[in-house]
Symmetry: C2
Amino acid sequence: MPGEFDFIRRFLSHFPKARVPVGPGDDCAVLAPQRGALCVTTDAVVEDVHFTRAAFSPADIGHKALAVNLSDLASMGATPRWFVCALALPKGFPLRDLTGLARGMAALAREHRIALVGGNFTSARELSVTITAAGELSRPALTRGGARPGDLLYVSGTLGDARLGLQHLLAGVKRGAAVRRQRRPEPRVALGRLASRFASAALDVSDGLAQDLGHLCTASRVHVTLELERLPVTAAVRSALGAEGALAGGEDYELLMSVPPARSRAFERACARAGQAVTRIGLVSEGSGWVCRDMTGRVLPPPRGFDHFRTPTSN
Amino acid sequence: MPGEFDFIRRFLSHFPKARVPVGPGDDCAVLAPQRGALCVTTDAVVEDVHFTRAAFSPADIGHKALAVNLSDLASMGATPRWFVCALALPKGFPLRDLTGLARGMAALAREHRIALVGGNFTSARELSVTITAAGELSRPALTRGGARPGDLLYVSGTLGDARLGLQHLLAGVKRGAAVRRQRRPEPRVALGRLASRFASAALDVSDGLAQDLGHLCTASRVHVTLELERLPVTAAVRSALGAEGALAGGEDYELLMSVPPARSRAFERACARAGQAVTRIGLVSEGSGWVCRDMTGRVLPPPRGFDHFRTPTSN
């Protein structure tokens, strides 16, 4: 069976090219309604694919469904404004669970001041939540295609925690920081807005750094050398998964950003002032694809990323 | 188990009121990005709820998923512009079916000049297609809340065909005009734009005229008297379902419009010039709720509408 990206490519091939500033293939579509531009993204979470009802509370599910969309808006540098929510509910879905789901979603919506402006309910065999979110841009959108040779590569926060959290949940461990990262990802909205003043490209790390870095290299037509020992991983992740495991892990919802060298010090200072944790993890150069170097300078083979269609997992 | 509208009300109660020209509760949300306004709607079609793969071709499914959204835009008087599509595909979904689905959707998109600007794929147990569509408004949106006492009530096309088509499909009959109405609803986009010059209110008839008329009465705080013998039904529908059956039938995707009496003749002439079939079916007055009168003037009890959550059906 072909992979997710092959599906997307084939599906898109049947449609005329959208005449919009940024169409399919990036984290968001950018529309230009009149003046200024609108960022729109859509993302779904599905029972037994992205969550289980045993391991996630209804509030976790509501939070996560919105968070993954906000993360896409963040990666473009957009300010979240409006969203619509399509819910598919199994017959007999308890009202108290709907309440929990709404509360989890509404809390995150309030935090980011994004307004629910519509939605749809339908019955279905499994629970799923499909959200379409729109944000406004005050600067040109941060796409995946803007990285240039010489740029420095940064990532926010820490990597691999959500993957470790999934392992914990599968093993029946239901508490702890890693489990929280899996259940309640925090979209880097403020950082995305800040980065739009400095960065040449950005995307959110949702499918694992390995795979998302590949997207950056392809879209920007550049090569990246990653320094493995610089990857920001917690001690728990390092001991459980190793740095390579963090590379392959999915659902981090951190931002990966390339910054021109002339702006890198100002970017780092601005992040420090704003309390945004970012780490320089590599260098952009001419070429294609990416490699990973360890402390000794040895080049390592890149691990496979995360792909729902290639890797049947309970995540 | 509570009905769909109770679910929506409860879900919405957890969110702050959206500060947009029209928020949840109408066919579309209206956003005001900068100048001019944007209409946004989201709607899903789910396997074994809105279609079966035995009775619908992949192209039918793709068509219908977009059509139900375009119908919402039509009912506001909006011009379709952009849409995003979230697909949930069962494992092993054949590529040729994805191609068929895309082709059916793309053909309708071309017809209405609406651009696919993004999307999402995920795996799931059952096939579903969730679309969010946006359109532009050149006049104030036609909401459900604008009908006033004295207005005349119109409906487009004919009613009950899609319901009859569903009966045919369940009986193994796979051809004919009624089956086509079930599989390939035609959103009344051009009529919606025309109506925005004359009508005081509009909505699309997706849940059966009985139920959608109730929405109009509630939102506009008016009473409606429907003349049963004026309902536009084909001979096939009249003999199979009767006019009452057409009232309760779902998925017509026709437009229900109220027009002030001073503008009704101009509206009828404009429709005739544009080749848009509309029929005057009733009168708006003060009060609440609606009644149906037969030829003798006798008031009939209103049949129940169509509600996914109250009526488990294969439709």
